[in-house]
Symmetry: D2
Subunit: 303 residues, 4 copies
């Protein structure tokens, strides 16, 4: 298994370190605008790897070196300047980076699975499908997985139950229009009825990315671990169900846009999209997310 | 963390090997009627442990050596002679083994958690609570965890989804009166509607223990892994939700008997029992299980 | 990665359980004289695997199903009847099993690596090379790895240092003529001078297999873990140095026989044989081992 | 097990992320000059932890919250301004940070083990022993462990042998006077004779920290993994032998200074210091390291 990681900024290098500790590939290639940063990380990680029971080759290079990658993780991006920058503005600035590198990456590895991390993740996942012409099953955005683990972490502290067993999903846009699909949330067979507590937790969840941003200037470890979890399910064909950004397949009348829904992930990418039965409020929220992301796509085109 | 494992037959020694590979304690004490078998396993496992990044002391001994154990795993038993032997008959034969060792084990380790594996597991879990006077939170039977993983394994092959994400529970007696709680089963947010397929899978599940028994003369690895999973949740206070045999707390009007329900497991034992909302058929099945196990207890007393 | 495990007796099924906990392949095929035993283990292990973060297919079958295996682990054997049976007698009885299955296994998987576990392991490793015509780099006997871990475990308890850091090797025959290569033993940079203690530990080591045998009637977990460690180094191309039985390459004038020497193990099998500088006593012991195994081979031919 | 991590800069937060993936404690407390950074990391890591099978509490706080820590990892520091800043200058600037926090940390956790990471690490390890009055067994500097893994990583690529099996040590000062103890280096029982290659590798090793620094502006992952490896050996009392900075015990006539030697590490800290037999050139190098670090200590006092 060969993984190419594009972008070794805060998120990219955290992913690379996580993969060094938990090696999911035999080769990890690091690409970055500043090649020196990628070279420095590759050396530093090679030293760390000497203490791990693995033999993953870690090196830096250029897109040409990515030939025949099995998975491409995309974290390259302009810096996020919160709060003065909107997600839309970020999308407009990131499109040139995508256009510059995605088609060439796809040419080098026509059978790769692409994991999109850069923001706005739903729009960029969609644009990646368009730019590559790849089967949408092979383009996955981290989407609301990171929001879902934040929600589960909050609920876990409250309920004193492991987050893994709190089957609660944040769905829709990885952005302000996301929603907690309470009508399908369960833990240990018990339903989760929406309550003041769960609503409070959801509001906290929605604000969490900004909160971490405010405190440390960026977010990195939660998203890195989310990305590694998706990758784990790909590498070992685990068929885990995870809420990730996918090309919506007509669910609730929505199509031609990427949004997060629970999906099964394996060695071939998305092996199945699940179709939970949502209540009406949730259905509306999903459709609203679709409109917002579609509008972002239009505005990004307009530039 | 000190673990005492009572009984190093097929199940006990498989648990011990699993714990050697995945060390959840600093000390593992093996007790067995034939001390030689326990000594042989301890030596053999010590050799295996030399290849593991751990420092768990593995040794054989007597009940007196179990002093201050944190967890006691009980697999001592008469051999199961299927099909000529009923579970009740087995219970009658196993009671003297329990009476001989459980009170003394409890005296040596008054704060231990006891994991009951021997059959009939629901009745023996109940008797262990009675014999020790322990808070029922600290006595756990493996119950239908093993049936649930068999059910999930079958469904996993059919659905091509990882068993961990198939949140389907077998509840009630670890025996013929068990039932699949279909009304609360979910995977990736999708409900699981009872169907011919799910019914067929459940029938296969119920017969699975006997099938493995017929093929290899005993069952060992599934139950060993189930036990280790419970132990993992205890050692690291993980608070996982697992269907295990517990003293029922009035759920559906049932009490004073041990049956399997989803429960949260941590360093203190059962930290919470969950109360799923079942449909009527399932509720009846749970109550039927209760009656059957109660009758077994009466008959075992009668001996 | 596809692994075929031939023989699901005590050793084989322990290996299979270890591989279920620590999955090193995407497919594990179990073959056994009694197919029912293999089927039973496959089912039981599939249930255990439902609690593991993996997706290894475990199934039973016939040699024809082993097509295109990457690794074949051979544990099929007549039962070992100690002490009335000599190793030579065992070799004579095991040759027909080898002849019956090894050539066909090799035909099905001409590029596989074969791991020989059955006894007498050095002679059977040699015969496997002969029967298959495989490059000797792809035929590995577990050899004195199991003796080395027993020796290290004993030293570890005495020195209070982790066995992994006690770089002491038992070399030569996996049998009575083995020897501890004290002149090259080190721990943390400190040499290990042969002493009464180290000699006593070695004598204990040599007797350890029989001791475990006497206590529990067979040995299984140490050898299972040794086999899994070799396999780990193959699967992930780890290039660990391990004492294993290989076709000796002229070292100390010895050739055309299999004996244990430290070797580097990777995805292609033996990637390099190391040639430690031994003292004279040790050199003589190695040559004596060579003669003994060669004589066994002659006597086995004579049958 | 409670771990307090002081300093959540590049190195500290990489350690915290590594510990989140590989949880070695039940509680991880983060302290940092800017509390916000520590709070942000704690939140971010808590989200990552939701995807890990653990229940480690991760939180930020003040020294008072560190009460009864089992291990304190110290990475607080002024920024390293290479090349205009000497190690001595760094020591002078870091002493006030040590004096401000070490005594209070020691008061809160009088039985803790302290792992020193900040530079100049040998001098600060020594000063920590002096400031706390702790038994030197409970104060460990990461020392040349990081240099040793760099050396092993380089040799591994050349020899195609896993770094773990290349038992080669860099000893002495974590600084320019360090040396490769070639006379005790071994791999798989083969001695390592000093050669042009090994000398070239050592020169590369010595320059490696600066090289990574030049490329990415800091080093983090190698040192983070080294720290986690020491911690692993402490948490599980593994008794691994590792080259770390310890109070030298008269070895080669050296005392009253901290330098790196191979030592055994367990739950109590340094359980034993090993005394390899070095050749004369190496002995001289060790004594030279001692003088250099002693001089640094004098100059730091003069400050
Ligand atoms: N999906 C999520 O949940 C989530 C969470 C956190 C961050 N993010 C997004 O991840 C992205 C990365 O965040 P970060 O904090 O690591 O940013 P960063 O600024 O630290 O890193 C971005 C890196 O991309 C590199 N880069 C820019 N253009 C490139 C190109 N053409 N080729 C290769 N490399 C290039 C830069 O050199 C830089 O190293 C951002 O878009 C951020 O918004 C997403
Ligand atoms: N709960 C489940 O899902 C489940 C699954 C499989 C097996 N089991 C049960 O687990 C038990 C063990 O099964 P097994 O296959 O290992 O049986 P086994 O016969 O192989 O082993 C039982 C062991 O208990 C020992 N023993 C008997 N009396 C003892 C005593 N007083 N003190 C110490 N040791 C004593 C015996 O020497 C023997 O080694 C059985 O009751 C079996 O029905 C339960
Ligand atoms: N190398 C070592 O260090 C080491 C250590 C322990 C055991 N061993 C050897 O491993 C072998 C297995 O030991 P065990 O305790 O598991 O023995 P066992 O008798 O329990 O198992 C042997 C299995 O081989 C099967 N078998 C026999 N002929 C077969 C064939 N033609 N095809 C498929 N399966 C066949 C049998 O049905 C049985 O299940 C023995 O030779 C033993 O001496 C080696
Ligand atoms: N031993 C080694 O092999 C090795 C390797 C790399 C780095 N280092 C050393 O580790 C140290 C940290 O390096 P870095 O790159 O993380 O630096 P950094 O500047 O990124 O982080 C240092 C952190 O310490 C914090 N800090 C300063 N004073 C503090 C105080 N009194 N209390 C709490 N926190 C305080 C700062 O706020 C900052 O977050 C440096 O001394 C560096 O030289 C050692």
């Amino acid at each position: 298994m060969k993984i190419t990681l594009v972008g070794t900024g805060r998120v990219g290098s955290a992913i690379a370190f996580g993969l060094t500790i938990n090696p999911l590939a035999s080769e990890l290639l690091l690409l970055n605008r500043s090649r020196d940063k990628a070279e420095g990380d590759a050396l530093d990680l090679t030293h760390a790897a000497a203490l791990v029971n693995s033999n993953m080759k870690i090196h830096a290079g250029e897109i040409a070196d990515s030939k025949d990658s099995d998975v491409i993780i995309f974290t390259a991006s302009v810096p996020f300047r919160y709060p003065e920058q909107t997600r839309l503005a970020m999308g407009i600035e990131n499109m040139p980076i995508l256009k510059e590198s995605i088609p060439e990456l796809a040419r080098q590895s026509p059978n790769a699975i692409i994991l999109m991390v850069s923001n706005p993740v739903d729009a960029l996942t969609y644009e990646t499908i368009r730019l590559t012409g790849f089967d949408p099953k092979r383009v996955i955005g981290t989407g609301t997985l990171v929001d879902s683990i934040r929600y589960r972490a909050l609920l876990s502290t409250r309920l004193q139950i492991h987050p893994e067993d709190i089957r609660a999903y944040i769905m829709g846009e990885h952005g302000d229009s996301q929603f907690a699909a309470s009508s399908i949330a369960m833990t240990g067979g018990e339903r989760f009825y929406p309550s003041d507590t769960s609503r409070e937790m959801f509001e906290k969840t929605k604000a969490m990315g900004y909160e971490v941003f405010r405190l440390k200037g960026h977010t990195s470890y939660g998203i890195a671990m989310a990305t590694i979890t998706i990758l784990d399910s790909i590498t070992y064909d685990l068929r885990h169900t995870l809420p990730v950004s996918v090309m919506v397949d007509g669910y609730l009348g929505v199509e031609d846009v990427c949004l997060s829904m629970p999906a099964v992930i394996g060695r071939e990418g998305i092996t199945r999209i699940l179709h939970p039965v949502l209540n009406e409020e949730e259905q509306d929220a999903f459709r609203r997310s679709a409109e917002i992301v579609k509008q972002t796509l239009v505005d990004m085109e307009a530039g």
